[in-house]
Symmetry: C2
């Protein structure tokens, strides 16, 4: 039997429209080219010239990729299934709800909204339209994260996590600090908290299997620019069972992406959790049931290093997973996966509480649910 | 010329008396056997039998080591220069001042005192007697620490440190939690804060070149045993220039000894700062001027790992350094080195502030000076 006689059983690719040509969209365009089940069908920008330049610069086929000169035109394109939306946060409610209303599945850059109430508007629109929602938190999709999940879920190895520390910072240059959307109150008004802090909060929630903290207290002395946008801040999160997590996020210190989980039986360390040092593999370190060696002159057992290889970069794996969920809805009558909007919402609720605590001079703020 | 004709120029060893046979004293006895310039001349315990057993168990020459059946007898021994004192903290004022009054140099286990006022009594006694004081914080003397100092002092590589996280915990067993001196209010009343927290506070102060924080706020929900002794706690330290440091210490979670220093230009990581994983060498990791690789799919440059070998374990290097200072006083008319009591005192001042904040339900407490 020749292979030509077998009908192609692989599902039709999900046709993505990229709505906005931000720098981060370049990474996602590449991911869509790499990810099985995904295709870039269209690019929409405020000008068709920009859309064409973006397509040409990012290896898209300018002959077949439709180029739209407005966001509305992209959303009106009947031949796209889903939009990836790397717009400034202040535009998310408008354009994500517009996308959902036109039946497009929504892969939304983080921070997903300026506040949880805005996010709820977006999620309600997706829910009503029956489209998949996912935030673009790429590290969630790296196989290292799955391996760490297994480790953390192994109660014998790690026990109950009691203390978490996380830092995400990078040293922004002068141009960024003057001109980037993340320092502009009308665009990404949450500044470093929305950008870098998002990852810390997500990682902390991930570590505790998305159990919301009860109370949040911001660290004192957050740094703001003249427009009042946060450039550096942090908070401690308190759970009702006594767990605590502290994070710091900043545009003003060296690139740092670490999370340390301290459990009753074990400790997990990662120092590049958001973007692994290298694309092909990533590490984490586990110390389990660590003891002192005789006379306390060393450790026994020593911590172990775990290396997890990946064929595809984490952003391509994210696109692949999103496409799989969209195919299930589009082609098999499935329902949207509720896990992704649920964890987005919890991240945003904690972010809201941290922002509120900052605004109240580091007063304790209860996390809403 | 035969070697016999050359007079021995090396200084006479410092003759140590070990006052108390706590478990930690075993490690120090070994260190004194290993350290050039040091000798164990005597062991003092509440019973001579215990002193004899200790000597026999720890490779001391029972024929030449003098064994004293009381602490006073040890201190009255005219042929010891210095005492190492691993007593419960509540006994430090009495016995450290007694040692100083008899002209003995004092190597004192940590926490050095229950409060800074008690420490000041000890330091005043040492000052009056002209004897050297040093606390037994061993990791300070590892060559890795000196190498990290060089790194941190390199403003181009690290810049200004803005954020510090430190954890020191170990999982105590039931016997420890019931019977160890560190859970007894009459002995080491500071519990996990005095034991594990001491190291975090010292490391944080070390990292900022001993600049005292202005304000300390304890983490909420410290864990205490029924007698009110701290089993787990933490705090955030605030400096007037906006630097912050958060530490957690615990008897209830897996062995963890990490410190992360985040500077404007670089980040330093150590995960075994108190007791290196292995005795012969120790590592730390430095990320300096870290950037994202093209498209943010990795880091460039990658962090670098630094391995520092040591011929002697850190506790032997501590004994050697203490002996050198004692020899300088005893044999060369030198004065006590003021650096060591000064950093002990700063550590204790911060510890006092953390304790006060805990006692006040995590209210902000100004650090005394």
């Amino acid at each position: 039997m020749s292979s030509a006689a077998v009908p192609d059983q692989s599902p039709r690719p999900v046709r993505f429209g990229i709505l906005g040509c931000a720098a981060i969209a370049r990474k996602l365009a590449r991911a869509m080219l790499l990810a099985p089940g995904a295709a870039v069908a269209a690019v929409g920008s405020r000008s068709e010239v920009k859309a064409r330049l973006f397509a040409a610069d990012n290896g898209l086929d300018v002959a077949t990729t439709r180029l739209h000169g407005s966001y509305d035109a992209l959303l009106d394109d009947p031949d796209i299934d889903a939009v990836y939306m790397p717009l400034p946060t202040s535009l998310h409610v408008r354009w994500a709800t517009a996308a959902a209303a036109r039946g497009k599945h929504v892969l939304l850059e983080k921070p997903t909204a300026l506040c949880a109430a805005d996010l709820d508007t977006i999620l309600a629109a997706c829910d009503t339209a029956g489209v998949q929602f996912m935030d673009s938190t790429m590290w969630m999709h790296h196989p290292r994260t799955a391996k760490m999940r297994e480790t953390v879920d192994n109660k014998d190895a790690i026990g109950d996590i009691r203390t978490i520390n996380s830092v995400f910072s990078f040293r922004a240059n002068e141009d960024f600090l003057q001109n980037d959307i993340r320092v502009k109150p009308g665009l990404d008004a949450l500044g470093a908290l929305g950008d870098a802090g998002w990852y810390c909060i997500r990682a902390i929630l991930w570590a505790v299997d998305y159990e919301l903290p009860k109370t949040v207290i911001a660290l004192r002395d957050p740094v703001k620019n003249q427009a009042g946008v946060l450039l550096a801040c942090g908070a401690t999160l308190y759970w009702s069972d006594g767990k605590t997590a502290t994070f710091s996020c900043s545009f003003l210190t060296n690139l740092t992406m670490d999370i340390t989980l301290v459990g009753t039986n074990g400790t997990v360390y990662v120092t590049d959790f958001v973007i692994p040092y290298e694309e092909k593999s990533a590490e984490f370190q586990v110390a389990s049931k660590s003891n002192f060696a005789e006379l306390h002159v060393g450790w026994d057992p020593l911590p172990s290093k775990h290396v997890v290889a990946t064929d595809l970069p984490q952003e391509a794996l994210m696109v692949q997973e999103f496409a799989r969920l969209v195919q299930n809805i589009r082609d098999a009558g499935g329902k949207p996966e509720g896990k992704w909007p649920a964890i987005t919402r919890k991240t945003q609720l904690v972010l809201d509480a941290v922002k509120a605590s900052i605004d109240k001079g580091s007063a304790p703020v209860e996390v809403a649910s």
